[in-house]
């Protein structure tokens, strides 16, 4: 079943003023249940605008956005939509407000008008999932956590609503490599255990490749590439044209080519690279200079 279906979506900020800005220009996109889609694109290409349409925060100006078959323009369904599509914003830690972590995580479930036991159960589950054990963190103030812990607490606040679709806007912003790795693992775990469909916006191409089944590249409000990481990053000309970085391993492949060692352009993981190099060595009779 199609979890998300976007047809001919166009969005213009500050319409009819001199600062008018076309953020989305005719976007068509379908995402199936169970898919992990990463949206990439240079700064200002419209990624955030696109994902904010998914839970009705931005109303479609022209075009239709359907979530599980129901258009987001359906006013009666707005509340349910917010619970079905969990949205984690960039720097989510800046939205924490309660005096304890547990209360903050409970904010969403409370708004869902769940029973007290159910809320409690969900808060425990969400906190344990994101790696903030309930016993240790429940009564602590969210403002006294470390940056990484705050982010986890904020993610728990979204997860506690047990959404069907998880949307993350730049979940890695401002994290060090270890933090990136931790959140990457967390996102995978959440996909496995809570929300089968994930849409993630990121500038981090390594994580994009590692996590996603499918990559959608935006440029000036239009979708310019849509396919598996190998397909999208295999086309180096396009990637360069729309101003994107290439993943680390692909950079190594390019660098090797400059040195006269041509390998397959669709190599994206270290393992693939190692086996390709070994094969290359065999072919060339093992002068091993790599």
């Amino acid at each position: 079943m199609q979890a998300i279906k976007i047809t001919d979506l166009t969005y213009i900020y500050s319409k009819k003023t001199p600062s008018e800005k076309v953020a989305l220009a005719g976007v068509n996109l379908s995402i199936n249940e169970g898919e992990f889609v990463t949206v990439v694109g240079h700064t200002g290409s419209g990624k955030s605008t696109l994902v904010q349409h998914l839970n009705g925060l931005i109303k479609a100006q022209t075009g239709v956005v359907e979530i599980c078959g129901i258009p987001t323009s359906n006013k009666k369904n707005l509340k349910q939509l917010r619970f079905d599509v969990g949205m984690v914003f960039q720097y989510p830690e800046y939205q924490l407000f309660e005096d304890t972590v547990a209360k903050d995580v409970a904010f969403g479930p409370k708004n869902m008008k769940l029973s007290k036991e159910e809320i409690d159960k969900r808060v425990r589950r969400a906190m344990d999932l994101v790696g903030l054990p309930y016993e240790t963190f429940a009564e602590r103030s969210p403002f006294e956590l470390s940056g990484g812990e705050k982010r986890r607490a904020a993610i728990a606040g979204v997860i506690a609503m047990e959404p069907k679709i998880l949307v993350l806007d730049e979940p890695f912003a401002g994290l060090d490599p270890i933090g990136v790795k931790e959140i990457t693992e967390l996102v995978l775990k959440l996909k496995r255990e809570i929300c089968p469909t994930v849409v993630m916006v990121t500038h981090n191409m390594d994580s994009a490749c590692e996590l996603a089944d499918r990559i959608v590249a935006l440029c000036d409000g239009k979708i310019v590439a849509d396919g598996s990481p190998k397909e999208v990053f295999g086309d180096r000309n396009l990637i360069k044209e729309i101003g994107l970085d290439v993943p680390f391993v692909a950079r190594v492949v390019d660098r090797l080519e400059e040195e006269g060692i041509s390998l397959d352009k669709t190599i994206l993981t270290i393992d693939e690279l190692t086996s390709a190099l070994e094969e290359y060595k065999k072919l060339k009779g093992g002068d091993g200079n790599v």
Partner: protein
């Protein structure tokens, strides 16, 4: 929710008015605000309206952006108009309509019309300043105009710095408010349902992070300024030095002319022009 904040709504355009020195614009606006309270005749209001329309045209402002600031005070204008309509008449004026104690007279109608004109023109005129001047230029202008106060130990530079920082962060705060509202809405927060108490409580999830973030940002900014050895002494120079240009001279002349005519109209012509123009109507 916070989209229609017209205060400090700078409208970028390339016009002589936009390029004018902020100090001149501030003084001119001050003259205009003072002048408008001396107007008693319809002629004066027409002259003012003509002046404002000319400025709007020269500054290439769209009418919509100018009217938006009037829309914000429409309620106050309507309220004042209503009070004036029933209470603003002079004794002995011809009665047009009455019901019990409520009376509308010819003179109260005139007072009301003039009141409304005065308010609308005042707001429009004042908004022209913020529409054509960036907040930073305004703060610089105020600093420059207040600089004589330094002689009596008023920390003008510090005040100006505080002002420009405050102005600089208004858009940031709005953007941030917007983001936090979006984030809490995504967790199912509702801001427009329930009674007044419930609504006030619904604002907490927005206000608390907003305050926390503001303090954090203020801290960071202070730290950044400190590590760049910021202090408000005479040694600080300006990046953009304001200069008086042709447009400033012309507009000062026009404004002085306007001011003189308004004063003449009030104290020497005494409504003569109105009588000439409108005959027995006034």
């Amino acid at each position: 929710m916070f989209k229609d904040v017209s205060f400090g709504q700078y409208y970028p355009a390339n016009s002589p008015i936009h390029r004018m020195d902020a100090r001149v614009k501030l003084i001119i606006t001050l003259m205009f605000v003072v002048g408008i309270f001396f107007i008693k005749s319809y002629f004066g209001f027409m002259l003012t309206a003509a002046l404002l329309i000319t400025i709007v045209l020269v500054a290439k402002l769209p009418i919509g952006s100018v009217l938006k600031s009037v829309r914000g005070v429409l309620f106050i204008v309507a309220f004042t108009a209503l009070i004036n309509l029933f209470l603003g008449g002079e004794n002995g004026s011809e009665i047009l309509w009455s019901w019990k104690k409520l009376v509308i007279t010819v003179s109260s109608v005139h007072t009301t019309i003039k009141m409304v004109l005065r308010l609308v023109l005042l707001i429009t005129g004042a908004s022209l300043l913020s529409l054509t001047t960036t907040p930073v230029a305004l703060a610089d202008g105020v600093e420059s105009l207040l600089s004589p106060l330094r002689l009596i130990k008023v920390p003008v530079r510090d005040i100006a710095m505080i002002m420009s920082i405050a102005l600089r962060f208004i858009p940031t705060l709005f953007e941030e408010t917007h983001k936090i509202i979006a984030a809490q809405k995504s967790r199912g927060a509702a801001f427009d349902t329930g009674g007044p108490l419930q609504r006030a409580k619904a604002l907490l999830p927005v206000l608390i992070p907003l305050f926390v973030n503001s303090f954090r940002r203020a801290d960071e900014l202070a730290f950044a300024m400190d590590s760049r050895c910021y202090n408000a002494t005479d040694n600080r120079t300006k990046m953009k030095v304001a200069k008086i240009g042709l447009a400033d001279c012309i507009s000062s002349l026009v404004m002085s002319g306007y001011f003189v005519v308004i004063m003449l109209d009030r104290y020497f012509w005494c409504g003569l022009v109105d009588t000439l123009m409108f005959g027995g109507l006034v």
